[in-house]
């Protein structure tokens, strides 16, 4: 039998290439109405009065007064109203939906809505901490009382997911059942949020996933807000309604990657980091949502790929009157890995040591303690991966050679990991994933809530089941999740899908295999945490993740000496993801993630001016084109994880994490100045070349 990693064609290629795949905006229902969102024009204050134009027959306003259940979007920290009741906390906060059959009429009515506000002074500074975390490891702060002290501050900006398909839902009522079809990552997040908004019973809400045109975290929690609004409208109007954002609205109002400021202080003894003190500040925007979880992932990653005995770790989520920030591939880790990778490099430079040798000397090994006193239980292949990286990229040679050259070329290397699955006891206590397989004659249907948003879930899961059962992949069925049929296997996030859900599916499949001759039956499996995983959430103690995926990126750049523009010439990437369930799909994840990570590091600028996002369309928010990207070489390492199917660990997020630090270090190497923030734009490079630190 062929090794499972051997690639097959993706099962949904044909429908996608031929344009037949149905995305939300492609669905038309009889008597369908359209919804526009009425939004605040100020960042903070109170609504005094709203004057809606007179509505023609068949046009409606839906606002908080129409909500039958709770006016709160159920996320993780529930503090976002579905529609404001008068308090405005950020620009473009949703106030109401304006709904009707003719978009031209809606557009006219929309322009006639008049709202009076009492404005208040908005807060943009990072001072109102709404979540504060702190933990120590070893000696904590006291380790910083001796040795040589080195301190630096690092900053990261917003990043927009920029999925090419904007957010959207379509909804209708089937007798009493509110049915929503959406571009979503988490069918059950949406369903549970809608149940709470409507005060409905479990069987009164149905959520179906349409083809998803990219998500990257952007369709994790945000869709729940839209779904609640739409569900409320459906209850009132009882006619099918489409709520699809256009690009500008999407960019102005949807969640983005949290900007961060990370302060590091290290004490150095015998050329080793004796103690590390770190503070992470992130901008949560106007609501907390899942900012706390993003912060904890960042904090837990504070040692980077290294073993450091003494830690004093703290962080805050700040509330500001800006658009709420949320999930984005990597979830706090990209911010932290940028910072720690730069810091370790800068420490080495200050100590007059070779940065890579220094990094290698403090690398975490199997058996070492993590920042939270968990253990890296599985073998860590980093030394081998670094050796390979040096060899194929000719890193050392280039690094010295480029330093001497007139033209501004540079190479940079980043070392990183990603904790797979939910942080802490999330899987056990909150998600409690459940999967179901239905065997009927010679076919098996996979019933899970995992969403294929391009990452290939439909292919890899069918392949997994077919491979275990030794049957043809055509005999395995996997339809887009529909909450009326699939159990809650959890959200499609946190690089958990193959490792956790796939692990469960593999277990269920083995049972199907054992009972193959029984005819038609159903097998269900529920997540059980491996016994050794114990985590104390409130004290940040124990194993925060069951397993870790590891990576090394090398990036070569050239900086234009006249315009300071950066051109990425080539990348080399090395990933330990346990086991690839399909190599080509993993390479696709690797390339795409690295492209996002690189662009986060040097290209993608987003900022706000008094709460207004300045780059509000694809013209102003710059993501890479084919011209900007370069050839990427990827090497995969096998290092099976006992509880993952065939040993698979997380893939999806890992590849985004190393891009920014690697490109930032490559630029440092090219210009001979230290980089402290991303994106490293030409404007910043110019500033560094004039006044930067050597």
């Amino acid at each position: 039998m062929r090794d499972i990693s051997t690639s097959i064609n993706k099962v949904d290629n044909d429908e996608k290439t031929s344009g037949k795949a149905i995305y939300v905006a492609d669905i038309k229902l009889d008597n369908m109405l359209y919804a526009f969102t009425v939004r605040s024009k100020i960042a903070k204050g109170k609504i005094i009065k709203i004057d809606y134009p007179e509505l023609p027959l068949g046009y409606y306003i839906v606002d908080y007064k129409d909500i039958p259940g709770k006016n709160i979007v159920k996320v993780i920290f529930d503090d976002m109203p579905i529609f404001t009741e008068g308090d405005i906390t950020y620009l473009y906060e949703p106030i109401a939906l304006l709904i009707g059959p003719d978009k031209a009429v809606l557009s006219k009515l929309f322009a006639e809505v008049k709202i009076e506000y009492k404005e208040e002074e908005p807060v943009f500074a990072w001072k109102d901490s709404v979540i504060h975390y702190h933990f120590d490891k070893g000696l904590g702060k006291s380790a910083l009382e001796e040795g040589k002290i080195i301190e630096y501050v690092y900053q990261t900006g917003y990043q927009e997911q920029a999925y090419i398909e904007p957010q959207g839902f379509i909804g209708y009522l089937e007798t009493d059942k509110t049915t929503l079809i959406g571009s979503i990552q988490c069918p059950y997040y949406v369903k549970n949020a809608v149940i709470q908004a409507l005060g409905a019973k479990d069987d009164e809400v149905r959520v179906i996933q349409a083809a998803v045109g990219g998500a990257f975290g952007g369709k994790e929690e945000f869709p729940s807000l839209m779904a609640c609004q739409l569900a409320v409208a459906l209850k009132k109007i009882k006619q099918p309604i489409q709520l699809v954002y256009e690009r500008e609205e999407d960019m102005l109002v949807t969640t983005k990657r949290h900007p961060s400021r990370i302060n590091f202080k290290a004490s150095i003894k015998d050329n080793k980091i004796n103690g590390l003190s770190v503070h992470v500040g992130i901008d949560g925007g106007a609501t907390i949502g899942l900012s706390g979880v993003v912060l904890s992932r960042a904090l837990i990653a504070c040692t980077g790929a290294y073993a450091i005995d003494n830690l004093d770790v703290s962080g805050d989520v700040y509330k500001t009157n800006t658009v709420p920030n949320g999930a984005f591939r990597g979830f706090g880790a990209p911010q932290m890995f940028f910072a720690i990778e730069m810091f370790v490099e800068h420490i080495a430079m200050e100590l007059g040591l070779d940065p890579l040798e220094f990094s290698k000397s403090i690398l975490a090994k199997q058996g070492d303690y993590t920042s939270t006193m968990g253990v890296f239980r599985d073998p860590v292949l980093m030394p081998e991966m670094i050796e390979k990286a040096l060899e194929v990229s000719d890193y050392n040679n280039k690094k010295t050679m480029f330093k001497k050259q007139q033209n501004l070329k540079g190479v940079g290397m980043s070392l990183f990991f990603h904790g797979c699955g939910f942080t802490g006891s999330g899987e056990k206590n909150i998600i409690k994933a459940k999967v179901r397989l239905k065997k009927q004659f010679d076919k098996v249907e996979i019933l899970i809530a995992a969403v294929d948003m391009g990452q290939g879930v439909k292919t890899t899961f069918r392949k997994l089941v077919a491979h275990i059962l030794e049957i043809d992949i055509d005999k395995v069925i996997f339809n887009n999740p529909d909450t009326d049929f699939v159990p809650d296997s959890g959200p499609t996030v946190a690089s958990r899908t193959m490792m956790i859900v796939g692990g469960l599916v593999a277990r269920a499949t083995k049972e199907v295999k054992d009972r193959w001759n029984e005819g038609s039956f159903v097998v269900e499996k529920q997540y059980e945490q491996p016994d050794y995983i114990k985590y104390d959430e409130s004290n940040f103690k124990g194993d925060a993740y069951p397993a870790y995926s590891w990576g090394v990126n090398v990036v070569e750049v050239e900086v234009d000496r006249f315009t300071y523009q950066v051109k990425v010439n080539k990348t080399w990437a090395f990933y330990d993801i346990g086991k690839a369930i399909d190599e080509r799909i993993v390479i696709g994840q690797a390339d795409g993630g690295l492209a996002q990570g690189l662009a986060y590091g040097y290209l993608e600028v987003m900022n706000h001016d008094k709460g207004k996002i300045m780059q509000k369309n694809m013209t102003d928010y710059i993501i890479p084109t084919a011209m900007d990207m370069c050839s990427m070489e990827t090497y995969l390492y096998e290092n099976p994880y006992a509880y993952g199917p065939y040993g698979a660990k997380g893939v999806g997020e890992l590849s985004l994490i190393g891009g920014a630090p690697a490109v930032a270090k490559a630029i440092e190497n090219a210009i001979g100045k230290k980089v402290f923030k991303i994106p490293v734009t030409p404007e910043y490079i110019m500033e560094l070349m004039k006044n930067g630190k050597d």
């Binding site: 359209y34 315009t563 710059i622 900007d628």
Partner: protein, 279 residues
Amino acid sequence: MVKAFVAKSLDDCLNILNQENVKIVAGGTDMLIQNRTHSGIAIGFKTDVLYVSLVDELKHITEDKSNIYIGATCSLEQILENNLVPKILRDSILEMASPAIRHTATLAGNIGNASPAGDSLVCLYLLDAKLEIKSINSTRYQLLKDFILGVRKIDLAKNEMITKIIIPKINFDLVYFRKVGPRLSDAISKLSFAGALRMENNLVKDIRFAFGAVNIFVVRRREIEEKLIGIDKKTIKDMSDEIIGYYSEFIKPIDDQRSNKLYRKEVCSNLIKEFLEKI
């Protein structure tokens, strides 16, 4: 409802322009985006519009002894692929937008849009381009630099349209165009630069500099260029600081969501250096 007139010939255009109060749409790549409202409904033009892109008479690129003539409805891609067109103009068009946009967008539209970031304008100023402008009862010729009156302001009467872009034939020994955008393709310029040089007996005979997106107008200063005529090759190569100084008062960029003043100004200076290095 906003009315749409579709012209099939130049006569159609001129007649409609004469009778109706219309705004011209060529490729529409500026007009549609600027007047966009919502998907699914008609473009929110403020006035009636005249579509000219079907006018085949204006889809030709021709030459005579002294000039190249580019018809107003030629697509950018068509211009890009035509060897009659001076290389520097084609270089600038290659850096505009993407193939999909270039297949419909026109050079006349880039001029008519009169944006300080219009990429072709820098080269057209550099080349002393002229326009042929027609109305039902007149044909006039105007230098591009006099035609553009400000940001989105042009010297065009209600009943007139651009029919040709006229580019004088000049041989340069060195031409150089550089668009500085936020990424390597398909993006609006932070700034752009064009330079051209002709030497005779090792002395500067004709030297030109033009800068885009750093002032309301493309910056081209003849009085500065004239100062440099007659200087020998070695000397001019070393004159970057002086030349940068001359241009300093004219390069007045702004801060915006794409870049900042300091960067734009400094890179203009650097590109003067780069151009001189190439001599």
